[in-house]
């Protein structure tokens, strides 16, 4: 049996190709159904984001990787030759490790980003909807999702800010705690300022005031935020009621000076005031930052914090790798036993079959024996089979715990003429077994 992930991501493939090979959420269940309808695909989950498209599949053998590539080619209508050089393929524990790393966010372009975990979840949900994920991939993805959560709670990989806006939110939280009930004053109608204000309102900040030199623009923007436009000349009084001031005007000279802030602070009675100055050149005079209870963050400060946070997250990768390593080991145990289960049952079935045939034949020949004697023969043969099976069974289970389990299990199957795959058409025909039985019996 073969567990594999085949796919491409932002490190292996150019964006044009990734776009061609991406699947929208709406298409996802259909894609799963389509792929799962292939005979060689026992289970599959397809993960598609803007940075990666990956197919996790459980197939009878390595050779079936071709089936997946062929499916990709037909599903996306892209010749296989066009994307094959960009594909990676990882099998067995490497595939498990890959999913766990992806779910933890350490395989992402932006290290530790949170979206990927949601995307892994929706991939799994789509696979469940299309009933293409069962014991193995179902278990794998459930554990993958929990690994993703674990990495984010037990390490700092998902912490800190990923953008200027989220740094602003973080600092605002450090000053005001909950942003609920806090108001934002947006000065200037720049895109960045608007984006930052959106971040803040999304994090709970309630009221938005907008001031702009062209008042009409302020009115338009205020409408978008369900806020209120204030006259540009009223800036100072607006600073009294607002807690967070975002400036992003195109003014060549600073528009907010020390005097303005000082008198606003007096009226605020020392309540802290947080300035986010995204404008270049700056909108707030440098000495405003020296005032007590006033926190001024300009674009460089915010950028530096984003960098610092990214650095902190990079330092956490090791810890996440460790979690992934442990979780992979844990899953491997399940995976391998899963691998051994069909072998063991096939082997048992086969031996029992042989025993049954031989005792039946014996019964025909020894008709003179009493019922008790025949029963005794039955019991004895059963016990012989059990004793012969005992050690190999234990050994097979033990193989399942090691790296080379696949080869060893293959060898066992080879030796006893059983097939490891439980697909109906590949079940060994009885005649084959019957021809072998004479040889095996004496052992």
């Amino acid at each position: 049996m073969h567990l594999v992930v085949i796919g491409l991501n932002h490190t292996t493939a150019p964006v044009e190709l990734r776009e061609k090979l991406s699947i929208s959420d709406g298409q996802l269940p259909d894609a799963h159904r389509d792929l799962a309808s292939r005979d060689a695909v026992l289970e599959c989950v397809i993960l598609s984001t803007c940075n990666r498209t990956e197919v996790y599949a459980y197939t009878p053998s390595r050779a079936d990787d071709e089936v997946i590539i062929e499916w990709m080619s037909s599903f996306f209508s892209v010749p296989a030759g066009d994307f094959q050089p960009f594909l990676y393929s990882r099998a067995g524990h490497k595939a498990i490790e890959h999913l766990f790393r992806v779910a933890s966010g350490i395989d992402s372009m932006v290290l530790g980003e949170a979206q990927i975990l949601g995307q892994v979840k929706s991939a799994y949900a789509a696979a469940t909807a299309a009933s293409s994920a069962h014991t193995l991939l179902g278990g794998l993805f459930q554990q993958g999702i929990s690994v993703g959560k674990r990495a984010r709670t037990e390490t700092e990989i998902g912490r800190g800010a990923f953008s200027i806006g989220s740094v602003a939110v973080g600092v605002a939280r450090s000053i005001f705690d909950e942003l609920k009930g806090r108001s934002v004053l947006l000065v200037g109608a720049g895109k960045m300022g608007e984006l930052t204000a959106t971040h803040l309102t999304a994090s709970g900040a309630s009221a938005v005031l907008v001031a702009n030199r062209t008042h009409q623009k302020a009115i338009d923007l205020a409408e978008r935020f369900n806020g209120q436009a204030v006259e540009f000349s009223q800036l100072q009084s607006a600073m009294i009621s607002a807690d967070i001031v975002i400036t992003s005007t195109g003014a060549a000279e600073p528009i907010i000076d020390r005097e303005m802030v000082l008198s606003a602070m007096k009226a605020r009675r020392g309540r802290p005031l947080f300035f986010v100055d995204i404008a270049v050149p700056r909108d707030i005079e440098a000495d405003v930052d020296l005032l007590d209870g006033v926190f001024v963050y300009n674009i460089d400060d915010l950028q530096a914090a984003v960098e610092a946070h990214a650095k902190e997250r990079r330092a956490e990768v090791q810890k996440v790798e460790e979690i992934v390593r442990l979780e992979v080991a844990e899953f491997m145990i399940k995976f391998r036993t899963l691998d051994a289960v069909p072998v063991i049952s096939a082997l048992r079935e086969k031996f029992e079959d042989i025993r049954q045939r031989e005792t039946d034949r014996l019964r025909d020949r020894l008709r003179h024996l009493s019922r008790e004697d025949l029963e005794l023969i039955n019991l004895t043969t059963r016990s012989i089979v059990n004793r012969i099976c005992h050690t190999p069974m234990i050994q097979i289970k033990d193989y399942a715990g090691h790296d080379d389990s696949s080869e060893k299990l293959d060898m066992v199957c080879d030796l006893f003429g059983i097939c490891r795959v439980e697909t109906p058409e590949e079940n060994p025909p009885d005649s084959v077994q019957a021809s072998n039985q004479g040889d095996k019996k004496p052992s």
Partner: protein, 255 residues
């Protein structure tokens, strides 16, 4: 006891930490109760016992407030101070069986002591909160936005917590001073003797009164409010320990 410091150090696993602190609290409560039973009196007469009591109420107060404020950094402060106090208290000569001075042979003596000590616990936590506030404000000012900074409570929470603590501690101290002077009347036939302990507790009271004034009447929350908390705590230290070290005045039996 070392469990307390572990609880203090581990703000990452703050839920476990508070559970541990709660267990410590119960254990210490039992220990204090046993002390009382053993000595047949309220065991807060000498310095060791007072320290034990403060340490106990400190953790108790913090745990009471924890659900509302969620500031593990202060939990670390509370439990660490608490643990230090226990260590100091257990290294002091424990004179549990020492004969009491006649002036102290009344259960009523315990009332001003307990209320004052409760007040001091509140002020200690307020002080911790003020320190945390100062550190957080400093880090925000210097733009050190990192893991440590994120784990510290926000300015708003630190400020409200300190206020809450003073608003608990202040009435306690007030009550302590009043009952203390009532008791002084029965013991020394005078309500107020201007001995160092009394004087300093009055100064402490005034500082915290000033803080509350700043917070409530002028509704200011800034550096000055915070500084008053720190000055106030210094006065607490002088009242509680400094006066005894100077070694004069009527309250000097407290060793």
């Amino acid at each position: 006891m070392y469990l307390w410091s572990i609880a203090g150090g581990a703000d990452r696993v703050s839920r476990w930490a508070s559970l541990l602190a709660a267990l410590g609290l119960v254990a210490q409560g039992v220990a204090i109760a046993l002390d009382c039973a053993h000595a047949h009196r309220v065991a807060i007469i000498n310095l060791a016992e007072s320290l034990m009591f403060i340490s106990w109420t400190l953790t108790g107060l913090y745990l009471l407030m924890e659900r509302r404020f969620r500031m593990p950094a202060l939990g670390a402060f509370a439990t660490l101070v608490s643990a230090c106090l226990i260590v100091v208290a257990s290294s002091l000569p424990g004179s549990i069986n020492a004969a009491l001075l006649p002036a102290l042979q009344s259960h009523w003596n315990a009332v001003p002591t307990i209320t004052c000590l409760l007040g001091y616990s509140g002020f200690t936590l307020a002080f911790g909160s003020a320190v945390v506030y100062a550190i957080q404000a400093r880090m925000l000012k210097t733009k050190r936005i990192n893991v440590i900074q994120r784990r510290l409570p926000s300015l708003d929470v630190a400020d409200r917590f300190a206020y809450k603590m003073v608003s608990i501690g202040f009435p306690m101290l007030t009550l302590g001073i009043i009952t203390g002077s009532l008791w002084a009347q029965t013991a020394w036939n005078s309500y107020w003797n201007w001995d160092p302990k009394e004087t300093w507790s009055l100064i402490t009271w005034l500082i915290y009164a000033a803080y509350l004034h700043v917070r409530i009447v002028s509704r200011r929350r800034d550096k000055w409010a915070n500084r008053l908390l720190i000055i106030g705590f210094l006065c607490v230290l002088i009242t509680f320990i400094g006066v005894n070290l100077l070694g004069s005045g009527l309250h000097i039996y407290s060793w």
